[in-house]
């Protein structure tokens, strides 16, 4: 059995960092409350006996078909044009390493 631990603001900040999402101060109390309730709710899965049950990661577990290992162009470089940072066939981003 998993004991449900209350979800606190410190958990929210950690998760927001992992998810790469900034949160405004006014969003936080509500999110903590919502996530706490939802996590408490899904914790009821701990009641189910899953001993010797294999995880099911997909609805159809038969071997998926494979294609030939040949290059085929689905999208050309044109798809980069949708980026607001598009310049001369490249995407400009802020400096990554100082």
């Amino acid at each position: 059995m998993v004991m449900f631990m209350a979800f606190a603001e410190s958990d929210l900040l950690k998760v927001a960092k992992l998810a790469r999402i900034t949160l405004k101060d006014e969003e936080m109390p509500r999110l903590v409350l919502d996530l706490d309730r939802i996590i408490a709710f899904v914790t009821k899965l701990s009641e189910v006996d899953v001993t010797h049950v294999e995880p099911m990661s997909h609805a159809r577990e038969q071997a998926l078909f494979m294609r030939e290992d040949e290059y085929s162009s689905v999208l050309g470089r044109d798809c980069l044009r949708e980026s607001v940072g598009y310049e001369d066939g490249l995407i400009r981003v802020p400096k990554i390493i100082d």
Partner: protein, 495 residues
């Protein structure tokens, strides 16, 4: 012919009228566009459309018919697409600000298939942001209303596609269903909606929410139209390795409304608390009619049903947190930042442009997948998922179909569940299991409640038995013809 009355006409009837030159595609499409112009301001069914692009396709269709080069059964018939579905030349936003203005450089296999049939792709429909919701209220762009009662939700997440068909703004439409997002809005709007078996329809070119659960399916005015539309989009696709290479029967040709000697399973767990009496009574009446026609009714157990919503929300949010990593301001949509570094760009773009429900789910999924919680939540949910699949496998050894309500109530008031995510999630209780198990389901209208709101009945069949769904649904439809239409809006803009 001025004012082709499209609102009550099916694909079958319009295709015949087109064939007999009783009407042109341009007239059919104009009729839809008039309806959209008149009512979209209030109903909010469409997020985007371009009259000229729609009429140009209709014009080309009429030319083909004149030249004897008609492409397929759908030639000239206006079909709407949920905004999750990529279509070249049409923006795709998934109703999110993070994809505002995005023009996809390629299109979905289902769209290619519709084009090959000559369908007129009339526009992109409203939905919950990234399909996360059950009321279309999380759309970042505009509210969507139920044509049967403007104060009620159309359901979701494919609310716009359901409303567009219900209100006669198009003849059929496509949606996506991850946990009930086709069947529940179909139920609330009095139309037919199909969630095909996982792998039946290609997901290539569909904006991903939860990849192991998502499927594309049709909305239509009746069961036959739904079968026609599913036939036009189903089949294996080399661009989607999860599509399954199983033959696609000609559903319409093989529809047999005969239920004599067939077994219908009624899950005990689906008729318990939370189900409204009016919905229960209507479904029981429909089942009695099937019994009178020789079907055998069998009570069955789906013992893990009480864990469906919890299992679904762990798996779906975990997959979503991973799928939505790609929206970071680099390749798609607008950028936001308060500094000069890449991290600030990622965090502000995502923090400012994702809506509250999407953020809630991404964070929930991230939590479920994070170190220390993965085994307790995600891995455990995957194990419980197997128990669901086994419940259904066992049930289908004894019965041909499983019948239930599509949703516990009829359309609920707008705003009622917006502030209570858990209550919103629990609305999906009857539809979620089909996605977890990968089986197929249909919702069809079987009457209205005392408020005049449609009631949907769900029929589920084992994977790749869509034909069985259509057979049973046709039998129900013949016994309980649903001829009601949403009331005319008296005062445009009235709330």
């Amino acid at each position: 012919m001025a004012g082709y009355e499209i609102q009550k006409k099916t694909i079958r009837v319009i295709a015949r009228d087109l064939e007999e030159r009783a009407v042109t595609s341009v007239q059919v499409v104009e009729s839809c566009l008039n309806e959209i112009e008149k009512r979209n301001g209030v109903l909010g069914a469409f997020l985007w459309l371009d009259k000229n692009i729609a009429l140009e396709q209709a014009h080309l269709s009429d030319q083909r018919r004149k030249n004897g080069t008609t492409l397929g059964f759908l030639d000239g018939i206006p079909i709407a697409l949920k905004d999750m579905i990529l279509c070249e030349g049409y923006p795709a936003t998934a109703a999110s600000k993070i994809l505002e203005g995005y023009m996809p450089p390629y299109e979905a296999t289902v769209v290619k298939k519709l084009r090959r049939q000559g369908a007129v792709l009339i526009g992109k429909t409203n939905q919950d942001e990234f399909a996360m919701g059950s009321s279309t209220e999380s759309s970042a762009y505009t509210a969507c209303r139920n044509p049967w009662n403007l104060l009620r939700t159309p359901g979701g997440s494919s609310g716009g596609s359901a409303v567009a068909v219900s209100a006669g703004m198009c003849v059929g439409s496509l949606g996506t269903d991850t946990g009930g997002s086709i069947r529940q809005p179909a139920s609330y709007c009095g139309v037919v909606g199909v969630k095909p078996s996982y792998g039946r329809v290609s997901r290539f070119g569909i904006i991903a929410f939860a990849s192991s659960l998502d499927q594309v399916g049709p909305f239509a005015k009746n069961v036959e139209d739904a079968a026609i539309l599913l036939n036009s989009i189903a089949g294996v696709d080399e661009k989607d390795a999860t599509s399954i290479n199983e033959p696609v029967p000609n559903y319409t040709r093989h529809i047999k409304a005969d239920v004599k000697g067939k077994k219908i399973g009624l899950p005990n767990e689906y008729f318990l608390q939370g189900l409204s009496d009016e919905v229960r009574n209507r479904i029981v009446c429909a089942i009695d009619l099937l019994r009178e026609h020789g079907a055998e009714i069998v009570e069955i157990d789906l013992p893990h049903t009480q864990y469906a919503v919890a299992t679904y929300y762990v798996i779906a949010t975990a997959e979503a947190s991973s799928n939505l990593c790609r929206y970071d301001g680099i390749r798609f949509g607008p950028r936001r930042s308060d500094g000069h570094d890449l991290l600030s760009l990622y965090e502000h773009t995502r923090g400012e442009l994702f809506g509250p429900e999407v953020k809630r789910r991404i964070m929930l999924g991230t939590y479920m997948l994070s170190a220390g919680y993965y085994d307790a939540y995600y891995l455990r949910a995957q194990k419980v998922r197997r128990l669901f699949a086994e419940d259904f496998k066992k049930a289908f050894l004894n019965v041909d179909v499983i019948v239930s309500p599509t949703a516990p109530t009829t359309a609920f008031p707008l705003g009622e569940k917006v502030d209570d995510p858990l209550a919103m999630y629990l609305n999906d209780i009857y539809t979620i299991s089909a996605n977890l198990a990968g089986i197929c389901g249909i919702s069809l209208p079987v009457g209205c409640d005392s408020l005049g709101l449609p009631i949907g009945m769900q029929i589920m069949a084992d994977a790749f038995n869509e034909q069985t769904l259509f057979n049973f649904a046709t039998a129900v439809e013949q016994e309980i013809p649903f001829n009601a239409h949403p009331p005319e809006i008296k005062e445009p803009g009235a709330r």
